[in-house]
């Protein structure tokens, strides 16, 4: 498909050059050792006794399967699933951003929803009122979100820990006040319609009609590919950041700020930089969610949204890209699935009958998931996947090569 339109580019990284490694992507911060830097045992080593099949090939096949499924989805699934998927993709982009800030660098932020709002509204304003071409407006919206992060980052740089976390709450409350009151720009309580994205002559809307291989391609089908491309782009970028020198520096700041400073990490600059980068991710998530909604309304960008993002990265796994994506999928899909299948689920009562309704069940499960992860699953869903993968690899090796394998640590 097309190139990601508005991949934030702020720091040069060495991501593309990073070779395939079997590195666990989680960084659970229980130790001060930055996990991203651990050596990668077993990379490209023959995995099974069969010659030629390496972990690398296996991985490639796996990724191909993932991509093939992602491409095939719009041809099979109905609008509900596509939209749920798009919400999850947008959430994943935003969650990757806040994971850079909160997960990897250790700065609590409750203001992420504000940056989504900035991205969404900037896109609308820039494309509708200033008449920028939509892809340009999207890029500009992401930059505006970054600028807003930059404006706030002196405050963020001055405050620490809990104080910073609650100071970011101000962004939400002040931000919503502006959204409701700056009517010429934001449309007030009504919000504003979102112009569809137009990229290389393709309009991401229901009209003009488009039929691909006999399947009618409406806005959701078209946006699906845009969402996949954007998510893939920003995920690869974030992975590069996390695995490269910046990632090491960020983890060191999280684990021991003063030590980081002593070791020569420009702490203030990094903290500000990560804040800006995370805001840009939020902005991009906002643009995508606006395109899906087709109308931006201020109510959406409230405190609950910010709290959702924090829950996502804890559930998924702090400090890792895969974790952010997994957590985003969990948190944004769970309520929709429960609502949709409420009729078929035994524990969930019919709405209004006094039992646990689907929406309540979703809230309870989601709260319980946060608690369960910190109690039983350090590293979140991503950590679980890594561990499962590791166990399976061990079993495979053990089965194929009779002598017990050397333990990993």
């Amino acid at each position: 498909m097309s190139e990601p339109v508005s991949e934030p580019v702020s720091e040069p990284t060495s991501e593309a050059a990073t070779p395939v490694r079997d590195t666990p992507t989680t960084a659970t911060s229980t130790t001060a050792t930055p996990t991203a830097g651990t050596p990668a045992p077993g990379a490209s080593r023959p995995l099974l006794a069969v010659p030629g099949i390496t972990a690398r090939t296996l991985r490639l096949v796996l990724w191909l399967a993932v991509v093939a499924v992602a491409v095939a989805v719009p041809f099979y699934l109905e609008g509900f699933w596509l939209q749920a998927g798009l919400f999850a993709m947008s959430a994943a982009i935003g969650a990757i951003g806040i994971n850079l800030l909160t997960g990897a660098t250790g700065q609590l932020s409750l203001g992420h929803a504000f940056f989504l709002a900035v991205g969404a509204y900037s896109y609308v304003y820039l494309s509708t009122d200033l008449g920028l071409p939509t892809p340009l407006a999207a890029v500009a919206a992401v930059i505006v979100a970054g600028l807003c992060g930059g404006v706030f980052s002196p405050i963020a740089g001055r405050l620490k820990g809990a104080y910073l976390g609650i100071a970011t709450l101000a962004l939400i409350f002040v931000g919503q006040h502006i959204l409701f009151n700056a009517e010429p720009v934001t449309g007030g309580f009504n919000g504003r319609p979102v112009p569809p994205m137009e990229l290389f002559g393709l309009v991401f809307a229901d009209t003009p009609e488009l039929v691909v291989l006999n399947v009618p391609f409406g806005s959701l089908e078209r946006l699906w590919f845009l969402g996949i491309a954007l998510l893939a782009g920003v995920a690869v970028f974030a992975r590069g950041v996390l695995r490269g020198r910046p990632g090491l520096a960020m983890n060191t700041i999280r684990d021991h700020e003063i030590a980081a400073g002593v070791m020569g990490v420009p702490v203030a600059r990094y903290r500000a930089g990560v804040f800006v980068l995370s805001s840009m991710y939020g902005g991009l998530a906002g643009v995508l969610v606006a395109l899906v909604f087709q109308q931006v309304v201020p109510d959406y960008f409230g405190m609950l949204l910010s709290l959702d993002y924090l829950a996502m990265i804890v559930i998924g796994g702090l400090g890792s890209v895969a974790g952010a994506v997994a957590g985003a999928a969990f948190v944004s899909l769970l309520p929709q699935l429960l609502t949709r299948y409420s009729d078929a689920l035994p524990l969930v009562a019919e709405p209004g009958s006094g039992g646990v309704s689907p929406a309540e069940a979703a809230r309870i499960l989601y709260g319980a998931a946060v608690v369960a992860v910190v109690l039983f699953l350090p590293g979140g869903l991503a950590g679980l996947a890594t561990r499962l993968g590791r166990v399976r690899l061990k079993e495979l090796r053990w089965a194929k090569s009779a002598p017990a394998p050397a333990s990993r640590r």
């Binding site: 911060s29 909160t102 009151n181």
Partner: protein, 296 residues
């Protein structure tokens, strides 16, 4: 001038309630350095027990039961979850308390359902007249209770073994543990005390001038966040000061919104946060908070 006085007195009276809520944040932060988002659901729990029991056992007994119940819930949250959480940073623990809050709030609002529950307090809707200014009796009581509790805490921190243990933990947990302070006990008791405070705050949050406890009550706890922060998260005096600042700011901005219409109407809700940002820029640890010493 009469309007200003009236608004000022109202602001102070609302501030007293915020101060009580903020005090709960402060106690937990002081002992464990965790920002406790569960406080909102502790409020709901305490209020719910009072509301359900007062027709059966009378108001004062119900209040005692509510305080005990909220303290128990607080202690359980600490004992069952936070103590066992495998996380590195306090920030993550804060997110855990968000998860717990979602769990508890969902269940409690489900129990409350669509009702508006009265708390059966003895003050009713009586008001005191101070010259041209009127103030609800409930709020006078709230102010007195908040002041008394804050003095009590100040004394307790200075003179009781528990208070010394807590201060020592706040200063340096490891050293305190080496000196024989049982960290688990300190943190458990802090959570229990915070729960009890939440029940008291819930009482004043749900009586006149507000109609009663309902599913929306927890949202009000959010307003106590700027109060706790701008006073200083580890200062009981700060909780009182912060509560009053937030209450007065909010009330004045709402009361004068016609004059301040250029800022957008409804500025009253955003204003406390603006004040908070300004104060934090000047004093990054709040008005009365202790600056975190750099430990290497």
């Amino acid at each position: 001038m009469a309007v200003f006085l009236e608004l000022l007195v109202n602001g102070i009276s609302v501030g007293a309630v915020y101060a009580l809520i903020a005090l709960g944040f402060v106690v937990i932060f002081k002992a464990t350095e965790v920002v406790n988002f569960t406080h909102a659901s502790l409020l709901l729990a305490g209020g719910y027990v009072i509301a359900r029991l007062h027709p059966l056992i009378g108001f004062w007994a119900a209040l005692a039961a509510g305080i005990a119940a909220a303290a128990l819930v607080g202690a359980l949250v600490e004992f069952l979850i936070l103590r066992r959480a495998h996380v590195g940073s306090r920030g993550v623990l804060a997110i855990v308390t968000i998860g717990v809050d979602i769990l508890l709030t969902t269940e409690l609002t489900r129990q409350i359902g669509t009702e508006v529950l009265a708390l059966g307090d003895p003050w009713g809707d009586r008001v005191l007249h101070l010259g041209p200014v009127t103030i609800a009796e409930t709020r006078v009581v709230a102010l007195a209770v908040a002041a008394a509790l804050i003095v009590a805490f100040l004394l307790a921190f200075k003179f009781t073994g528990w208070g010394v243990a807590m201060r020592a933990t706040a200063e340096d947990a490891e050293t305190a543990a080496l000196m024989g302070v049982r960290l688990g006990r300190v943190s458990l008791s802090a959570w229990a005390v915070a729960g009890a405070l939440a029940a008291v705050a819930a009482l004043f949050l749900c009586v006149f001038p507000t109609p009663g406890l309902d599913r929306g009550t927890a949202a009000a706890a959010m307003k106590a966040f700027p109060a706790a922060i701008l006073g200083g998260l580890d200062s009981t005096t700060g909780a009182l000061a912060g509560g009053l600042i937030v209450g007065v700011t909010e009330t004045l901005m709402s009361g004068y919104q016609s004059e301040l219409a250029f800022l957008g109407r409804g500025i009253g809700d955003a204003a406390p946060f603006l004040v908070m940002i300004v104060i934090l820029l000047l004093r990054p640890s709040g008005l009365f908070g202790t600056k975190e010493p750099a430990r290497v």
